[in-house]
Amino acid sequence: MQIRDLPYSDPGTPDVRSGLRLLLWLGRKQWGGQLKALGWGVLQLASIASFPAVAGLAVTAVVHRSGSDLALAGVAMAVVTVAVTVGDTMLHRVAVTNWITAAARIQQLLARRTAALGATLTRRVAAGEVVAVSTGDIERIGWCVEAVSRFSAALLTTLGVCAALVAYQPQLGLLACAGMLALALTVLPLLPKATRRAEAQRERAGRATELAADTVAGLRVLRGIGGEDLFLTRYRQASQQVRHAAVRTARMWSFIEALQVALPGLLLVGVVWYGTRLALDGHIAVGELVMVYGAISFLLLPLQLFGEFAMSYSFSRPSAARAARVLGLRRPGEEPGAQADDEQRAAASYGAGPREGLYDPLTGLHAPAARLTAVVCGDPDAAGRLAERLGGHPASAADAPAVGAEAVGAEAVGAATAGVATAGAPDGNASAGQQADASVPPSVLLNGVPLDTLPLEEARAAVLVQDKDPVLLSGTLGELLNVPSSGRIGAAEALNAAQCTDVLGALVQGTPDAAGDPMRARITERGRSLSGGQRQRLALARSLITDPEVLVVDEPTSAVDSHTEARIARELAELRAGRTTVVFSSSPLLLDRADRVVFVPGAAVAATGTHRQLLRSDPAYRAVVTREPQHHADASREQVRARTNQRDQRAQTHQRAQTEGVESA
């Protein structure tokens, strides 16, 4: 594998049973490169190791006053130079290639896994882990995989040099070998501890950075209200703590370094002392003494490589474990076992239900085909959950992404991500909802077909749910709006319907090289350079372009001013004419445009009608929508609240049961 051939067309199926297995798998996948590195590494080290022999040759030649021997040493020197140069350069090339191919492979695997997990990855712990693997862990994993070859080369060369020393000069050779062994054994045990310290210090530094970032992020608040000094003092303290911790870590490393000077130094002193005595007794020549001295100095190099490998391994072990964990994440339904859930959910939903449009058996919500249905919920969180349910395959139903059961530490992720938020069961069968985890909420029906039984891709194509906080992906506006779509609605039309004219203006101003073409204007990450209202309108335009059979939008205009909202409401109704649309909102401007409005104050539909009808007939509805503190509405509002509370309690009980389930599992 060459770097120019990257990315891999197929990064393979990783062995995620444990961190070590993942490392081994990565090594196996590029064994050719690893072998090459081993070969070049041996050449490099062997030629470096032979330099002392050449030096010894030269000194011997000089001592013997032999010009021709010196010339011979010169030739040998030239050969060694070429060998070192070639070996060093090629080793570097192959080692870097190994590092990069391993890193690229994991990046690709991560990208694929992330895309497959999709919405189920929104839980913070799992999401944070994925990002941590991508930003920090991969470097270390690649380093460790690559260092194996250099380590092996160092090991082979060291054994070779030791063997040569023993064969050449048994007493000195044995002394050297024993010394090396002692060196390796003294320094290596210290490394894991030092590594841990370095890790801890990194974390502390990370927290200080976080503190600084936090202060800067809230700078407008600080400048607007005050408190700069308070936060500066706080940051200075954190910064100084980092400094002290770093110096403490450095102290530990400095001792290791001192040890690495002292121990080989002692060996050298011993060799000089013993070797000189041998030379005095006439056992060895002067040149040989120089040669042995040089050989011992050389052995420090492989010794460093041993240290580096030990370090890379102790740094990468937790990283590899985390990577294996993340790559082992599965979404419910991806694993064979989870299918039973789907079928159960599907089975539960068969039976009653209209044969057209979108129908939710849980709340009784029905959105007739080719109509604009508005939904008013008593509780915004319930609205979010209901909207999600309407798309089928709800990510939060089985909530925690099921984890490859064998993956190391899977329990930790599982437990942490199991902040369960199952939609509450309807009032009628409350006891059923409480009693067992086995009770799976029934699937939403699209034209009578349970959505959960459709393949994910198909379900998403049929129903598009735009949640309350849609994310604008960075890139140009053209890229943002280039989504899989029916092709019926053009970008201009959708942007116009979502009242994006001023957004386009702002975008063009922010991107001078777009040459006035808004489609080439850049949107920064999450659209941070835009206001909340502008972001909402772009997201709505994107969903309109998709033009799905069913479009579900949750509070699409909550940050848009009334003037603009009124226009959007009109355009939305026109553009979606003949298509099924569900809008969750409590704004009269939007509700007034809907063909029908469904009021879901608690866990089930309470009333259906047009906005004006409901305004007149349902005081609870009126209270929610107009936010008018009405005396006669108060009673019903209390009622709503009581009902909501009840449901909340139930959800909590349910959650507790599930959490316990996870813990005991």
Partner: protein
């Protein structure tokens, strides 16, 4: 024998590097620069980047501040290096004596000297490492603290216009990039230079003719380094930016999980990630090529030095110009040169790359801090008269707006997006100064007052309810630093937040944000409101204050907000008509002008645009 080969692989790619536009370079052989440069800026850099002069003067200042630590490092390093040269010197003596056929060496004395030198070398090597780290850490700490000191002094108008994103990336990414350069680069470079100089000097002292070998190698080293350093910094920056882009693409896919799934963008995101991998690895190939040229050159010059010393020295010995002992010492010293030369090359590289990040950090110093006139406002009424204002010199957003806000009254600004409501609100809050006309507070020009003075009178309340990482107490104290607990509780009580805070195990000392308690958006807003109660300005400008909240949470908060508003002058930028309804005066802003002005009843009766909207709202 280059030390890079053993350590450069992980080190070279730790911490992403940054951009610097440079001319295109040698494209004719080897691996040319890839066309796509991930380090080229895509967004406007809004805040200035330090000029070379500013950077230089800052570095000088930094070194001056730490000159003692620096001097100490040089001293201990010199001692360590000198001690390390004792071994070769002694061995040279031994070889000399042995070659001369001496039978009686003072082996005990030599061994003792050698051991003593070793002890000195060990102790001082430990000190070099420690002092180096201390110097690096002190400089790094200074750098990040200096930056934050500068940042918190920025005028609100700069923050408002530039946003905090650019600052944020400077304090996180750029500090990160500088970390290694500061904590290792500066000390190691200093060590390497001293080390090399001492070794060359020792070589000259041992046997001056041997220094010739260094002279032979120098041109090779010089030419290759020149070639390399002309190309390397840009390539490394692009490479690092490319690698960061790989991670960024993935992070975005994770963050946008729901959206990606809903819009079926999964395969596209994978394709994007793979494109980023291809872009990144293209630059890896480029830098690998640069090193493929540099490494042999360095190896060659190392070998030229060592071989030169050995062979030239051999000839010199045969000629009788120097002794065998000198040759031995010289050869061993030449071997020792490899390490410091590698050190210099490696960190010089890193420092060049870090320079750009330094320029970005230092750039904040070039922003003018605001100069307060020291005047105090002589009243509470805010007045805008004939105000013209635009974000760019040639385009005005407001075209002659006049508005009087009488103390204690409530003014609502309504109108379509982009009409200039928020801009007007920011002018009234003293964040921007008008291009023409004036905005006054009690007769004093608002834009002339420093932020510290303005905020005692007027506060802008927007959707940014930043809750700082730390204790709840810190989060409140910022508004009134000398407040006692009773005052804090009173403020929480005033916004209806005392109940949930009392419910927390640690009360005011509860940690919020990262790692601590996660507050809901509604609670965050309550905290923001409690701060206002503590800060106690007489006039508030509300901009979309509750618009991003869920309606139900908003309703609860409106009660808290009502408490805060009591007895204050309020200018509300109203997105929702029910907010406007209660105002004393409603100003309809359209196209940068106030098109309608009056109370709700007046405007409904006038049957203009406001009336139309109200009817469709209220049904």
């Amino acid at each position: 024998m280059s030390p890079e080969s053993s350590s450069a692989v992980p080190e070279n790619r730790r911490g992403p590097r940054q951009l610097l536009p440079q001319g295109s370079q040698g494209r004719n052989f080897g691996v040319p620069e890839p066309d796509y440069d991930p380090s080229a800026p895509e967004d406007l850099t809004i805040l200035p980047v330090g000029s070379p002069a500013t950077v230089r003067s800052y570095v000088r200042e930094l070194l001056r501040r730490h000159r003692r630590t620096f001097a100490l490092l040089i001293v201990v390093n010199t001692v360590a290096v000198v001690a390390s040269m004792v071994g070769p010197r002694l061995l040279g003596g031994v070889v000399d004596d042995l070659a001369a056929g001496e039978q009686e060496l003072q082996l005990g004395r030599i061994t003792a000297l050698f051991a003593l030198a070793l002890v000195v070398q060990t102790v001082f090597t430990q000190q070099v490492r420690l002092r180096g780290a201390m110097l690096g850490e002190e400089m790094l700490a200074d750098l990040r603290e200096d930056f934050l000191v500068r940042s918190v002094g920025l005028p609100p108008s700069v923050l408002e216009r530039a946003g905090t994103g650019d600052l944020l990336s400077r304090i996180t990414t750029d500090i990160d990039r500088l970390a290694d350069a500061m904590r290792k680069g500066v000390p190691q470079l200093a060590i390497g230079l001293v080390w090399t100089a001492l070794l060359v000097a020792a070589l000259c002292i041992t046997a001056p003719p041997l220094a010739l070998a260094v002279l032979i190698a120098l041109p090779v080293l010089f030419v290759s380094c020149r070639w390399y350093f002309r190309r390397a910094p840009h390539a490394y920056r692009a490479e690092a930016a490319g690698y960061a882009a790989v991670a960024a693409a993935l992070a975005e896919t994770v963050d946008a999980g729901r959206t990606v799934e809903a819009h079926r963008l999964g395969t596209r995101r994978v394709a994007l990630s793979e494109r980023r991998v291809a872009e990144w690895t293209a630059w890896e190939r480029r830098t690998l090529w640069l090193r493929t040229v540099l490494f042999p050159a360095i190896n060659l010059s190392n070998m030229l030095i060592m071989g030169g010393v050995l062979l030239l020295g051999g000839v010199f010995v045969l000629q009788g110009w120097i002794g065998v002992g000198q040759l031995t010492t010289g050869a061993l010293l030449a071997q020792m040169l490899v390490e410091p030369v590698g050190l210099i090359l490696r960190w010089y590289d890193e420092l060049q790359v870090a320079q750009v990040s330094l320029a970005r950090l230092v750039g904040v110093r070039e922003i003018e801090q605001e100069a307060g006139s020291g005047a105090a406002p002589g009243g509470k009424e805010v007045r805008a008269s004939e105000v013209r204002f635009g974000y760019r010199a040639d385009v005005d957003v407001l075209h002659g707006v006049t508005l009087e806000v009488t103390p204690g009254s409530r003014v609502a600004l309504v109108g379509p997006s982009g009409a200039g409501k928020s801009t007007l609100g920011r002018l009234l809050a003293g964040i921007y100064g008008p291009r023409r006309g004036e905005v006054t507070l009690g007769g004093t020009e608002l834009s002339e007052l420093p932020a510290e003075e303005v905020r005692r009178h007027v506060a802008l309340v927007n959707q940014e309810h930043h809750v700082f990482v730390g204790t709840l107490r810190d989060n409140l104290l910022l508004a009134r630093q000398n407040a006692d607990d009773a005052e804090l509780w009173a403020a929480l009580g005033a916004v209806d937040a005392d109940d949930w805070v009392r419910g927390l195990a640690d009360g005011l000392d509860s940690e919020v944000g990262s790692g601590g308690l996660t507050v809901t958006p509604a609670q965050a807003q309550q905290i923001a409101l409690a701060r206002l109660v503590l800060a106690d300005p007489h006039t508030l400008v509300l901009d979309e204050a509750t618009s991003l909240l869920d309606p139900r949470a908003a309703r609860h908060l409106e009660r808290s907000l009502a408490q805060v508003l009591q007895g204050r002058t309020v200018v509300a930028i109203a997105h929702r008509l029910h907010t406007a309804h209660d105002a004393d005066v409603i100003a309809v802003v359209e196209d940068g002008r106030i098109s309608e002005l009056g109370s709700h009843e007046t405007l409904v009766a006038a049957n203009g645009p406001y009336a139309a909207l109200w009817r469709s709202w209220h049904g």
